[in-house]
Symmetry: C2
Subunit: 172 residues, 2 copies
DNA sequence: GATCTAACTACACTTTTGTATAGCCAGGTC
DNA sequence: GACCTGGCTATACAAAAGTGTAGTTAGATC
């Protein structure tokens, strides 16, 4: 039932003694912390590239599609690329950058969690290694090759970490 | 630059021909689609269990803490467990269920993405296999043991999938 | 130069998430 | 039985995120 948390090493063990400033999760959520941004990424993984495609397939208004596509583009997850359909003018479509691609584990982990807990017996889609057809899953592994469970996940301070210099106090 | 999307197999290849009803990602986001819910999970992984701990460490108001802790408890990710400090009354604290634990890859994947793209040279925390001290990362692997990249990720219809019967039309 | 089209903006609004301050309440101890 | 404490609610707002309908725009073709 009540499972063990991660192993908080060293000074981190006393949760009352440190703050979560500079948390990477907080920074990540500033960019992809909403429903619509994550669904746009899903669509990009599926191969959607065009404004109307995103809005229609996700089922969001064009206003939101425009706002979030701009947001993700400015943040560097998507890039605009010109295209030209025969008989049409040149326009821009949206393609994943490496930064956007690298969120795939997040989306797939959410999907598989949903598959497991929020669908009935079977889920609508399967994710496989295309080559072999063998099922794909998201895993936590260490460099030694072991799978890592929460109880054996250590969290420690990075000795190389340097606190970014605070923006110089403007005004006396 | 413009990277290839996943391999959409069979009927899925034509994005215009199908809808994303029943999408597991959508269902997952209905539960953990906000900043505060994901931060509460982070804290639960770190070992926070008490109301005040969640609110203070995350830096959210007690109102939001109460709302989202109730939400996650009702959804089954957290469970209330009575505790008793010496000299205090019995109260309830919040502990992870298996359902909550199983979101660890999502949170860790977001953190590592943030570490890579949103921190400077070094990130504040390290995630390691506690046993060995060896770094941990989130990976996509198939049952054959291979790492899977987006270009080799196949998405296909699940042949066992049955569309849930629509809620019987109440009122003609 | 009128027309078509996909990208995108404008306006008016609702819902959800969130802040800030203050106060309630149950069941322990003193 | 007064008091303390941590979980939790009340009231009043602010700020995002999101809806729905309609209109604008740029550069192709006809």
């Amino acid at each position: 039932m009540g499972s063990m948390p991660a192993v908080m090493e060293g000074l981190l063990a006393d949760l009352g003694s440190w703050k979560t400033d500079h948390c990477s999760l907080v920074k990540a959520l500033e960019i992809v912390g909403t429903r619509s941004t994550l669904l746009i990424l899903r669509e990009a993984y599926y191969g959607t590239t065009r404004f109307t495609g995103f809005a229609q397939r996700i089922g969001i208004t064009e206003r939101i599609a425009a706002r979030q596509l701009r947001h993700l583009t400015e943040a560097g997850l998507l890039a605009k690329r010109p295209y030209r359909d025969e008989g049409g003018r040149t326009r821009d479509e949206y393609v994943l950058t490496d930064m956007g691609r690298d969120l795939l584990p997040v989306i797939l982990a959410l999907m598989q969690w949903g598959d497991k807990y929020l669908q009935g017996e079977h889920s609508p889609l399967l994710y496989v290694e295309h080559d072999t057809g063998s099922p794909v899953h998201v895993e936590l592994r260490s460099d030694t090759g072991n799978k890592v469970e929460l109880e054996n996940l250590g969290v420690r301070l990075n000795p190389d970490w340097r606190r970014p210099k605070p923006a110089a106090d403007v005004g006396d």
